[in-house]
Assembly symmetry: C2
Homo-oligomer: 230 residues x 2
DNA sequence: GTTTTTTCGATAGCAAAACTATCATGTTTT
DNA sequence: AAAACATGATAGTTTTGCTATCGAAAAAAC
């Protein structure tokens, strides 16, 4: 794989680029792991500082608050995901195959491109699953959105919607379907793990049911509008 | 409408039944409105106490913490919703009609039964939209679940899944589809309001697109498995 | 109809979270 | 060598989340 990430999280997200210093990288890498371990609500910069043997104030020099920090992590996640989609689908022609591959990627069953980031991909996925909605389900959503900070998520969603549109040009809800697939790819495994009454898909280690559910969902909806039927 | 709510929120949810006293009712009614106004994160018992002219400690006599309070409110919401489903579908025979009616109810476009509760239904719906996932996306989810506190949500989901199963007995993901519909009925209008790039449905005041999206989704998926085609 | 229990108001206080400020020290840049 | 910057060390503020105590008032039990 000779492509590189050129996309970097929006500069407004961090007060200072964490990738530019040892401490910054430690904050991100260890912060990710700590948040994974104790959850967003229990996560504090004080605890992280203690863990990586630095001071609370030092972390505040990189991130305004933990909400921004979470958004920073998720931005990585969304960027990696979109990048993986772009790269993986490059050599596919068939729309059906593209959508199939896409579903595998959003369910975390795709290829693991790029290991340059040094981020714990497992933790990143778990955080995306359990915490991602907390970045936009807030009163300040409009202000944050005005700062373009949700652009990576919107881009990812837009790209998926584009693939749906390619397969079924007249389907009028491709964006809604894309966000549905993205959200459910996160939520259904969470339900499987913690509230199994809300789902039929299996636990993390068996992604096949989730993939089957989503494939069936997407193609059932799109086939009626598909350019040519299979 | 001569049916009554017999369902009451689980006793474990509140330390003391808020419906049993003037103060308790005030906490719930005004708390709902305050949370709607400032959002879950900014909501505190201190602020609520100031608003209703009581003391923080008094509120703590009713609810352990604000998470439990939110769960109490959502329990009402889920109960009302399931009750509305049961009552509204009682006189319908056709599975298709049932599912259609159901979708209207979960998108808040159903009949407004029961106004005995005195709860601001508008605020309740808005809170369900913006805050509901915060009750289960927490590290303590398993403990809370063990206390049966998500039962109302599971019951609602189970009932919807049951309707899907009635229409399409061999569809293997009726629970997942039910939770998908429930979640998207909340999330898509939120996106429409705040992150329109993620959806194709219109804003709150025009629920028809949302309904159309969900109907299309559900029937596209189920029709392939339906007992008899229409 | 008064005792007993319960409820609530009033006040206090504490530990943690979520920051901000300052200053010295060490480390790069220029 | 000087200037600029990053971090450590310390301190302090406000808000949140929660508990304790105690007396008065209201409700329930006798």
């Amino acid at each position: 794989m000779n492509l590189r990430f050129t996309i970097r999280p929006n500069e407004k997200l961090a007060l200072r680029d964490p990738e530019s210093s040892e401490l910054g990288r430690k904050i991100v890498r260890q912060g990710l792991i700590l948040m994974h371990r104790i959850g967003y609500e229990h996560f504090t910069f004080r605890k992280l500082a203690a863990e990586i043997d630095t001071k609370e104030a030092s972390i505040y020099r990189y991130f305004e608050n933990k909400h921004r920090f979470l958004l920073y992590l998720l931005t990585w996640h969304w960027n990696i995901m979109e990048y993986t989609v772009v790269v993986s689908l490059r050599n596919l022609d068939d729309s059906v195959e593209k959508i199939r591959a896409l579903i595998r990627i959003v369910t975390n069953d795709g290829p693991d491109l790029d290991d340059e980031t040094g981020l714990d991909r497992n933790a990143l996925h778990a955080i995306a699953m359990a915490e991602s909605s907390k970045v936009y389900l807030i009163k300040e959503v409009d202000e944050v959105n005005r700062e373009q900070l949700f652009k990576p998520y919107k881009d990812l969603c837009g790209r998926i919607a584009g693939l749906f549109g390619e397969y079924a040009p007249n389907y009028p809800y491709s964006r809604s379907l894309a966000s549905t697939v993205l959200e459910m790819a996160q939520l259904q495994p969470y339900f499987a793990q913690h509230l199994p009454a809300l789902t039929d898909v299996g636990k993390d280690d068996d992604p096949e049911k989730l993939i089957s559910f989503l494939e069936n969902l997407v193609f059932s909806v799109l086939d009626k509008y598909a350019r040519e039927k299979n």
